[in-house]
Symmetry: C2
Amino acid sequence: MIGIGETKMGKLPDRSLRDLIKEAGSKAIEDAGIEKERIQALYMSNFNGQYLCYQGHMGPLASEVLELGNIPTIRCEGACASGSLAFRQGLFAIASGMYDVVLVGGVEKMTHRATEEVTTGIASAEDFQIEARVGITFPSIFAMIANRYFYEYRNVREEMAMCAVSNHYNASLNPDAQMQKTITAEQVKNGFPVSSPLTVFDCSLVTDGAAFVVLAATDAAKEVCKKRIVEVVGSGHAGDTLTIGTKKSITAFAATINAAKEAYNMAGLSPADIDFAEVHDCFTITQIINIEDLGFFEKGKGGDAVASGKIALNAEKPINPSGGLKAKGHPIGATGISQIYEVVTQLRGEAGARQLKKADIGMNHNIGGTAATCVVNIFKGW
Amino acid sequence: MIGIGETKMGKLPDRSLRDLIKEAGSKAIEDAGIEKERIQALYMSNFNGQYLCYQGHMGPLASEVLELGNIPTIRCEGACASGSLAFRQGLFAIASGMYDVVLVGGVEKMTHRATEEVTTGIASAEDFQIEARVGITFPSIFAMIANRYFYEYRNVREEMAMCAVSNHYNASLNPDAQMQKTITAEQVKNGFPVSSPLTVFDCSLVTDGAAFVVLAATDAAKEVCKKRIVEVVGSGHAGDTLTIGTKKSITAFAATINAAKEAYNMAGLSPADIDFAEVHDCFTITQIINIEDLGFFEKGKGGDAVASGKIALNAEKPINPSGGLKAKGHPIGATGISQIYEVVTQLRGEAGARQLKKADIGMNHNIGGTAATCVVNIFKGW
């Protein structure tokens, strides 16, 4: 990882897809300190520009904006995990010896559309024929997941609220975050009801934004990198069925468990070795399930870990120091790359007011749809 | 290449995305003669299901339909080149040693939407902000390209028509093709005007369909393959700017030229070594430009080659034995995979009435948008 860049996340009515790509891409290339002629390929992530912005073919769009010439480009999509999927393709392109330096970027522009249009666009990450067509959208899916979790383990309504509180606090220390205000558990629980038990404060944000990273082979990284070198030491990717009704469990995500296992094995590390993680908190219940599935806490005990303060900055296992999808924002195609941006920022010691004291090994965890796609990456600072 | 499968191409109102995936995917797995448990990853191609069918996240959808368990999946998009892009990711995943057996599939469902909706959906492959928003759709872009070609070289209106005639004839011998009727050059030239000089007969089709292939590492292929083994000996991928106004030339596509060079170099072959090719005939002028850019004929002489019968079945350089996008059909996300399906079918000697006498080395060439993405693959039968 030799370069990172991202935009401020939020409702950015005056900024086009081109503007967002230009800013984040240029920042990443500048941070890498390389001539852009060294970039051999571009892996772009975008979730649903085709529906929300009438814009597909995001690879050549970004290549044109960033003036990258005739390099090969591709758009990768796996719903909300699109960013980490694009990252993984770039990673393996380098690992295979195909390329020495690649650019990986993600962008999404969502806030210009009406709420019902955004909902329709996001619902393309679930099954249209079986689910969305009959009105089952993501808040109702994750509300079912929360209720099932309550049934199988215990009611964690309070702890879900505490996840939102924690993420808002972290975001208040992150100048790129969409939310800059702290909230209380009472506000979360008494928020506008979306799908019981979820209120609007349990849901991640609708966000415009972009994030880019530059990846290089180790030799090239050593040559150009003037900051702490961050190595990708593990990566895992697994899937599951698209529909909620066909999964073996909806309170433990098989895609996360399998992807994490692959990443830990590749890195030769265990959950205890991870200093902090950016995890996919599309809803507060998801954050609790994730920190269990990733092996940080025992199954059914994620709520206890949150309640006892273990996920706070500089506690036992800091989760989402950036503010997460809940408070940093969820510009879908950019989200995975923005998680990686935060991990690298922490490993470099550049996270300012939210800088963790111990930041040598970090993780990003990104899921798409009803946990039908999952990518986990583990990063280590040299 | 150990397995191939595709659906009949056409207007298929009674068939869902799930049906199309099920048929083509099952055929490919059955053709490979493997247990599906051997498939380690799925690379899916789809262009614009999110706009046309409200369905993204096509990887887990296909994995669920084909019952592939928790394997990793991804959707690749690069406009009309999406299929070949997905293929190339699968190819390099195997070449890198990550996986031994992968499934690559493409699907598109288009004919259920009104013409203006299909036009809007397809226009997401160009630039929305600069081009589509002001009414520049693909027929007008390729009409400009044709007119510029006429200016720089000579008027090839007649030869463009002959490309359509040739592709329709080939399609009449292909039971999977959408068009089963031969046409005349007079019909093409007198067809319903779309954007001068293009008539409706110069334009590729709006098509529903799916195509899948199974790729295996050489050792695994030798073990399971009961048919002629087809090896991917070369692959190239290059890009260009998205907008037509920013390209160095619009009568020679830099993305094609660069991708072909990479593929020829990897294969250690020259254009003369290629027995036949499936090339991207989104419009008839594109076919003429392609057969020049691929090095089959001198620049500006593509029309002469067509007029003298050199691209016909069993002539000097057979082009689009399947019928091409023009007559076999253009189910966008499936198109590149369907081109590869045809190449493998020919190399195996299974192409029936359209079987070429000499079919040892074949090529597929796939472009996206205004030649902003290009992938070229070269295949050799053992």
